[in-house]
Structure formats: structure tokens, C-alpha cells
């Protein structure tokens, strides 16, 4: 027994001494004190403990740069411009930067260490991604399986997003679901309405978050949201717009149309095709009809695929309805939102009518 105990003791003592040495060394040598990170010329000033990488320091302050490899310097996605305080370019960064980036002080934030005050520049969108502890202001039943929820942001906070983007909603543990889960939902309210967020949520049978929303949430409940995210938003051109959506895909289109009204964009024609099965699946019809009446550039075309009753809407599946309404679509721009099947079918129809694929923007709900 004794030899084993001595061995353990000696090895533990050795490790202990080395650990102590490391701690002492860290205290004396790796202590950089408090450093400030100036983001986008003073738009945000963060105070961090020096010594860590820029990427982790920023993440600690809830500013999340994209990173695929988790800071090991092997993916090259965490780039940002460092204007001051980064030190010379490291050999580990060189393979991921092209000449233009090197010239404009682009660095890999996971390799740059914060050793003093530092000035950086990140894309504006990243700054606006925030976490909100919201309160449900209202829940509206739109159809038998779609609800509209309005979330009030905490006092004094606002959200800055582009119409068409989405937010992540977190469900709290309920019934058998023990963990917090999150799903992405498109924002349906206008960017100008920045004290609250509206989401349109369609019930997914056995969906973890939708079940929570439909069966457990009520007005006044607190809900955690993070956003905005996403590359689905109105591009800045003068082209005529075709919007096609189904189900809860109406949400980002509504936001885009409301945003166009707010910004006074009236030189672009916009047509919104909304595909549904029958009349009971339609919602927001009155609102879009009112917009249509007031703004001559906008046209609302609801289409019902399986409703032979007498109704004022177009009949047929949405792709047929779109095809019927247009001849050549070469000069148009399209925004699609809905199920992957619907989007693939629509892309086929649009490209078939001459629309280049890079002018078709979509958000697949899967």
C-alpha cells in the first residue's frame, strides 16, 4: 500500500506546486487589468478584463461575432476590422485573409488578444442582435392553427431590425420537456414599431415550442426573445416586387409592406400572392385590402386551392395563380416565404418565366 500512497502523494504534490506556480505566473504576467473595446467609433464602449481573445471578450459582453470553430483559428469566420490596439498580423491569421482585408486591418477576432484598449468595427447588424425579456401584450387567434403574438420589450429598450428578419423565441420547460428550447419565427410588425415585436406562429403538431405557445402561454407571461437574425429582407432596388407566401409565411411580407409604407417607397409596384387552402385559412385580409385601397402601388391577391364555394378570391394553387398573372418576369424581383415545397415550386415557375435566380429571395420554413 505504501508505495501507491507515496506515488499519489508525490505526483499530487508536484502537480500542486506547478499549479501554484502557474497561478502566480498568471497573476503577475497575464494580468492586463481592465481594457476598453470601442465598437464602431464609440457607438458602444465595452469594458472587459484584458488577456482573453477579442472573440471571447466580445461574447462575454453579448456581442456575438459569427464563429464556426469556436475560436481555434480554423474556420476564418470571426473576422472584424481592428482599427487600433491589435498588434501585428499573426501567422495564424494570414491564411484566412486576402490582400484587401490585410490592407483594411481585418483580423481574426479569435487570434487577436485584448492586451490594452482596442478599437474595432463590426457590421451594424451584429450590434442590433440583442436578448429581450419580453411580456406578452396580446395573443390573437388568426385561424384555427395560426396565432399572432405581440411581445412588449422591457421598459426603455428598442429593437432595430430589417423588415423580413426573424427572432428566436425560447420556451420554458413544460410537461415532459425539461429544457429551454428555441425556434425561429419571422417578425410581422413594422421596424418603426420598435418597442414591441409581433410574431405569427403556426401550430406544428407535437412541435416543442409551438405546443408551448399554443397550450401554455397567456397574455402577461414573460418570454425570452433573441434577434433579429436573417438575410431575408427587402433589397434596395427600383424593381417591381412579387411576394409569395403561404400560412405563417405572411409574417415577414407584412413587415416588408408596412416598412415600405413607412419609408414612403411608392415607386415600386408590389404584388402579394397569399396562398391558402380555404377561407378559414385566411387572415389579415382586411388590413391588406385597406393598404391596397390606400396605396396604388400595392396589390393583394389571396388564392384558395381547395375552396369551390363562392368567394371573391383567386382559385387554384399559388404557383398557377402567379403564372396566370404574369407574362415575362425578367425584370422583377421576388420574395418568397413558406414551406420548402412551396418555395421550390415557386422558384421553378419564376425562373421559367425568365427571372434570374439571384433575384429570388426566400425564407424556407422547415
Amino acid at each position: 500500500m505504501t508505495p501507491i500512497i507515496t506515488a499519489v502523494l508525490v505526483l499530487s504534490a508536484l502537480s500542486g506546486v506547478l499549479t501554484l506556480l502557474l497561478l502566480v505566473a498568471e497573476f503577475f504576467f497575464a494580468n492586463y487589468g481592465e481594457c476598453t473595446i470601442d465598437v464602431n467609433q464609440g457607438e458602444k464602449v465595452l469594458k472587459v478584463e484584458g488577456g482573453a481573445s477579442l472573440l471571447t471578450s466580445l461574447a462575454g459582453q453579448k456581442l456575438f461575432l459569427p464563429s464556426g470553430c469556436g475560436g481555434r483559428g480554423s474556420c476564418g469566420t470571426c473576422k472584424c476590422r481592428v482599427l487600433e490596439g491589435a498588434g501585428p498580423l499573426l501567422p495564424t491569421e494570414v491564411p484566412y485573409l486576402n490582400d484587401e482585408e490585410k490592407k483594411s486591418d481585418v483580423r481574426l477576432s479569435c487570434q487577436v488578444k485584448v492586451r490594452g484598449d482596442i478599437k474595432i468595427e463590426v457590421p451594424e447588424e451584429l450590434l442590433s442582435i440583442k436578448e429581450f425579456e419580453t411580456v406578452i401584450e396580446s395573443i390573437t387567434d388568426f385561424t384555427h392553427d395560426i396565432k399572432g403574438l405581440r411581445f412588449k420589450l422591457p421598459e426603455g429598450e428598442t429593437i432595430k431590425f430589417k423588415a423580413g428578419q426573424f427572432a428566436n423565441l425560447f420556451s420554458k420547460p413544460y410537461e415532459d420537456v425539461r429544457e429551454e428550447t428555441s425556434r425561429a419565427y419571422s417578425i410581422s410588425s413594422a421596424p418603426s414599431d420598435n418597442r414591441a415585436i409581433e410574431l405569427v406562429i403556426r401550430y406544428v403538431p407535437n412541435g416543442m415550442v409551438t405546443t408551448y405557445v399554443f397550450k401554455h402561454l397567456k397574455e402577461g407571461d414573460k418570454v425570452r426573445l433573441i434577434g433579429p437574425f436573417g438575410e431575408f429582407f427587402l433589397r434596395d432596388t427600383d424593381r417591381e416586387i412579387v411576394c409569395i407566401a403561404g400560412g405563417s409565411g405572411l409574417a415577414p411580407i407584412r413587415s416588408i409592406v408596412l416598412d415600405m409604407i413607412d419609408r414612403g417607397i411608392s415607386n415600386r409596384k408590389a404584388t402579394f400572392f397569399f396562398g391558402a387552402v380555404s377561407q378559414r385559412d385566411l387572415y389579415y385580409v382586411e388590413e391588406f385590402k385597406a393598404i391596397e385601397k390606400e396605396h396604388p402601388w400595392f396589390r393583394f391577391v389571396p388564392a384558395l386551392s381547395k375552396d369551390d364555394s363562392d368567394h371573391p378570391y383567386e382559385k387554384g394553387i399559388i404557383t398557377e395563380v402567379v403564372a396566370r398573372n404574369y407574362g415575362d418576369m425578367k425584370e422583377l424581383e421576388a420574395y418568397l416565404c413558406g414551406s420548402p415545397g412551396m418555395i421550390d415550386a415557386c422558384v421553378k415557375v419564376l425562373t421559367g418565366k425568365g427571372m434570374p435566380e439571384d433575384r429570388i429571395y426566400y425564407d424556407k420554413f422547415s
Partner: protein, 199 residues
């Protein structure tokens, strides 16, 4: 000749040439092959190896002779040496980072690589096997590191020139031709055997 009477300088010189840890024992091959593509990084890595081996050799000597031998725990030498090397690489990295940013940028990124470089562990084990004294172990650590650095710098220089001038058949490109060159350099180093030989 009794090893204890050999002058440390001779051990230092032998460690660079005839007992070159890389060319005669083929230790530290992985980083040797990986980083020998350009001269600048190989000089950086070489300097870092010199640094670490010079510091860890005497420390490991102390750990072995003053801690493991008295408690008859020689069989723990591998794990003890590795722990010591890992810890000291960390400390050295912190010190360099603080003291000289320039040196840190040259060595810094290579230091963690060296923690897993078997030449450093080999160096510690050899000084035990060969029963070096404390001063001899310092000379040996410095020499082994220098020898390794010399070898990687030589290979990097040759590879850089070959890149421009030689045509290597595609099957041998990269690590293949590097190993062939390493073999030839090793044979050349055997030429030093006439001058000094220490086992």
C-alpha cells in the same frame, strides 16, 4: 571515459552534431515535417524548442533526482516529465507575452506545439538514461534544442530552394521528399562522429 567527467561543453557540442536528437533519434518529427516549409516559421519554432528544452532539462533533472529517486518512484518519470513540460511551456508563454511582444509573436504560437513535441520529452529521458549531472543536463538541454533548430532550419532552407528549382515527382512531394532529405542530412551529420561521440 566516465560520463561524470565529460565537460559540459562537449556534451553540448555532441548534442548538436553526432547525437542530434532529430537526426539520430528521429524525435520531434511531426512538427519538424509540418513547419519546415518556410525558413521564417522554422526559425521561430526552432528558437522556441531551444527555449523550452534549455529550461525544462534542468528542471526535469531536479524533479527526477531530488523527488522521484528519493521516493523510489522512477517509474513515474514519464508522467512527471510531461506535467513539468506542459506547465513550464505555459509559464514561459506568459512571461514572453508580457516581456516582449515581438518575441511572443515569433515564438508564441509555436510554444503550445512544443508541449507535445516528443524531442522535449526525449531530451528529459536521455539525461536520465545517460546519467548526466545537473550542469551537464543544462548543456544537454541547450544542445539538444540547438541541434533540433539547426536541423529544421537546414531542411527548411533546402525545401525553400527546391520549391523554386527542383522538379519532384508528384508522388514524393511534401512529406515524402522531406523525409528523403532528412535521411541525407542525417548521414551527413554522421560525418561528425570522428570529432566527438558521447552515449
Amino acid at each position: 571515459m566516465d560520463i561524470q567527467n565529460v565537460h559540459p561543453f562537449i556534451i553540448f557540442f555532441a548534442a548538436i552534431t553526432t547525437n542530434n536528437i532529430l537526426l539520430t533519434n528521429f524525435l520531434g518529427m511531426c512538427s519538424f515535417l509540418a513547419v519546415s516549409k518556410d525558413l521564417k516559421s522554422s526559425l521561430g519554432l526552432g528558437a522556441a524548442v531551444i527555449f523550452v528544452s534549455t529550461f525544462t532539462a534542468p528542471i526535469n533533472w531536479l524533479v527526477y533526482h531530488k523527488l522521484l529517486v528519493p521516493y523510489e518512484l522512477e517509474y513515474l518519470q514519464y508522467i512527471a516529465f510531461i506535467v513539468v513540460i506542459a506547465a513550464f511551456v505555459q509559464i514561459i508563454e506568459m512571461v514572453i507575452e508580457r516581456v516582449s511582444t515581438l518575441l511572443y509573436l515569433t515564438l508564441g504560437i509555436f510554444l503550445p506545439l512544443i508541449t507535445v513535441n516528443c524531442a522535449i520529452l526525449g531530451c528529459a529521458l536521455f539525461l536520465v538514461i545517460r546519467q548526466y549531472s545537473f550542469t551537464q543536463s543544462i548543456a544537454y538541454g541547450l544542445g539538444a534544442g540547438t541541434g533540433w533548430a539547426l536541423a529544421i532550419a537546414a531542411l527548411a532552407g533546402i525545401r525553400a530552394r527546391m520549391e523554386k528549382k527542383s522538379k519532384v515527382i508528384p508522388e514524393l512531394e511534401g512529406a515524402g521528399i522531406a523525409l528523403v532529405i532528412t535521411g541525407i542530412i542525417a548521414m551527413a551529420f554522421i560525418g561528425f562522429s570522428g570529432i566527438v561521440r558521447i552515449n
